[in-house]
């Protein structure tokens, strides 16, 4: 079965919740915000038209560090990997637990400077055809370097939300081939995908494929 490579973009919108000006308000809003909003601030950050923050990979941690100036909170939030959790509700509980712990530690509720409130957003993922088709596992060697970062995001990161088994699209597709591609599937399964920028993820995927399929890497 050929693999049709897709690309994607976001339509971003306000989540319909008031902004948070301080940590207490952040707690109150996280309780009520839609799941899509949590997903956006934890996972879709990498394909928005912004620069990657080199330190933190979710918006809550970035806001805690830059606006609340609370490095402790930022570090605790920054280490969360939403893909290690079973659901977005589990993610919500973990974020609330961290915020509540911090609220119990500080003497004064940290505030953001005026104009730097936390804006709650969500997005619709719009999917496009690229015309690129993988017919065999070996095609990954040639086509992975040509894929856009948003294609990598769609098939290797976002897929885990879309697919019931929480795996990436490439691995699911490789399951349709013989046993001898298992090392490739395992190699892809070992690639760290959340705490890296998309350009870095693409490099790691290329390296994993070349290692698992050395014959096509030298072609």
């Amino acid at each position: 079965m050929p693999f049709e490579v897709k690309d994607c973009t976001l339509i971003t919108r306000m989540a319909g919740i008031s902004t948070a000006m301080n940590l207490r308000e952040l707690q109150e809003r996280v309780i009520i915000c839609p799941e899509e909003c949590l997903f956006h601030h934890f996972s879709e950050t990498v394909i928005r038209p912004t620069f990657d923050d080199p330190e933190f990979h979710n918006d809550f941690a970035v806001w805690a560090r830059r606006q609340l100036r609370d490095r402790v909170l930022a570090e605790r939030l920054g280490i969360i990997n939403p893909y290690k959790l079973n659901s977005l509700e589990e993610l919500r509980l973990l974020v609330l637990d961290i915020i509540e712990e911090r609220l119990s530690e500080v003497h004064h509720i940290p505030w953001a400077p005026p104009g730097h409130d936390f804006q709650f957003m969500q997005a619709v993922t719009v999917v496009f055809d690229t015309g690129m088709v993988l017919k065999t596992p070996e095609d990954l060697c040639e086509l992975l370097p040509r894929m856009s970062h948003s294609s990598i995001y769609y098939h290797f990161v976002e897929a885990r939300r879309r697919c019931d088994d929480k795996r990436d699209d490439f691995s699911n597709w490789l399951d349709g081939f013989d046993e001898d591609v298992r090392p490739l599937t395992e190699a892809l399964g070992n690639v760290e995908f959340y705490f890296v920028a998309l350009w870095e993820l693409q490099k790691r995927l290329i390296r994993a494929v070349e290692k698992a399929l050395p014959e096509c890497a030298h072609e």
Partner: protein, 412 residues
């Protein structure tokens, strides 16, 4: 002269054009009517001048209509504009009456088109009352607010909200500009047209000739701020930063902008700027006509660093233009400049003239860093702030409104 998608393909690439065609496939033949208040002058007219023909090129039945009115009407809409930006303005019953009656008069002419259209996009507050004047609407109505409405005058906003609440969706340029409304509020950042007079590639000869014409030495580095002579753009802060260099950097400063002749406050600020320059021969103050796009283009391209040391800013398209030309930007730490200027990557954000002077000195002494920032800036704009992204977001938003806003939307 309107351009086609094919004209843009060499700049944005075939994949970007393919995405536009896919997004438009299900919208082919749909009637889209944009309504604003002027065909010439201002950012909205500039956007519609490319957006409308490109939608037509994609197979949509796109139209651009303009509301007409007498000076009293535009006086009221100017008050709306200022009020949405937070200005202290009065809003009387008489003003509301003039506004609504003028829009109703326009509706007599536009009603058949607007009521039958699949999508109506109303730009800014001037035509907003058209929704109330078109009760038998068939399609989706979208209010596009181009204004920084983050801190509006409450009285003005309460009135505008009563006019836009009934729309199917609204669009703001940045999350910070959005206001609470009972319909989906989308965020679509502005963009630049890479083939416009302001951004198209120029020959070295044209750039050199422009510098000569305006008395700028082409053999010494140029620092430039392009902006109206407006206190919020802090031109005097830029001069202070330049003076703080105190000869440690061999450079010239250019402050270029237009609009002062018909703007009483602009003329006052221009005089203040001239006084602050105090006859320094390395400070060039250029008052340019509103259509001096190629001149501005040439000056930006000739510059080593672009300044945009605003104290308050909407999105800051002059920053986008500079970055498109591969220039590092030293910008004020405000508004949309923060979305574009990223410390150590595309430039520096500063809060004071001292900070600006420090960063100018740093960059002028590190040409390799300037070159890196210029390359990064150009790439960032190419990926995020060109018109193809802007058009794609309009199309996908319309597609989303038509099909429903699920988590995923297949464009094909």
């Amino acid at each position: 002269m309107s351009r086609t998608l094919l004209d843009y393909e060499p700049v944005v690439g075939p994949d970007a054009i393919s995405q536009l065609r896919q997004a438009a496939r299900d919208l082919k033949g749909a009637t889209v009517v944009h309504v604003n208040s002027t065909r010439e002058g201002g950012g909205v007219a500039e956007i519609l001048a490319w957006l409308n023909p490109l939608m037509v090129d994609l197979g949509l039945d796109a139209r651009w209509e303009v509301v007409e009115g007498h000076p009293e009407f535009f006086g009221v809409t100017k008050a709306f504009h200022n009020g949405l930006q937070g200005g202290e303005v009065m809003l009387t019953d008489r003003q509301v009456e003039v506004y609504e009656q003028t829009v109703k008069d326009n509706a007599e002419r536009l009603r058949p088109l607007l009521e039958s259209a699949d999508f109506v996009v109303i730009h800014d507050p001037q035509p907003a009352h058209l929704l109330a004047a078109c009760p038998n609407r068939k399609g989706k109505w979208i209010w596009r607010c181009h204004i920084d409405a983050s801190h509006p005058n409450r009285k003005v906003w309460n009135y505008i909200r009563s006019q836009v609440q009934g729309y199917d969706a609204s669009i703001f340029s940045m999350p910070q500009f959005a206001q609470r409304l009972h319909h989906p509020q989308f965020i679509i950042a502005p963009s630049i047209d890479p083939l416009s007079e302001k951004n198209v590639d120029l020959t070295d000869d044209e750039i050199k000739a422009t510098l000569e014409k305006y008395g700028i030495d082409s053999n010494r580095p140029v620092l430039t701020q392009i902006s109206r002579f407006d206190r919020f753009k802090d031109p005097i802060g830029v001069i202070r930063a330049f003076m703080l260099l105190n000869g440690t950097v061999d450079a010239q400063l250019v402050l270029a902008g237009g609009g002062a002749t018909d703007d009483p406050e602009g003329a006052v600020v221009l005089e203040e700027v001239k006084a602050a320059a105090n006859g320094n021969p390395d400070v060039n103050i250029l008052l340019l006509p509103p259509d001096a796009h190629r001149i501005i283009n040439a000056i930006q391209r000739a510059s080593a660093i672009i300044m945009q040391k605003s104290l308050q800013e909407g999105f800051g398209l002059t920053v986008t233009e500079a970055m498109w030309k591969g220039k590092p930007v030293i910008g004020g730490n405000v508004g949309g400049i923060r979305l574009q200027v990223h410390n150590h990557y595309t430039g520096f954000l500063v809060d004071t003239p001292e900070g600006a002077a420090l960063r100018i000195r740093e960059l002028m002494n590190r040409p390799e860093k300037m070159a890196f920032m210029g390359r990064t800036a150009r790439k960032f704009v190419t990926e995020n702030f060109l018109l193809n992204r802007h058009l794609r977001e309009y199309l996908t938003l319309m597609l989303g409104l038509r099909r429903g806003l699920a988590n995923h939307l297949m464009a094909d």
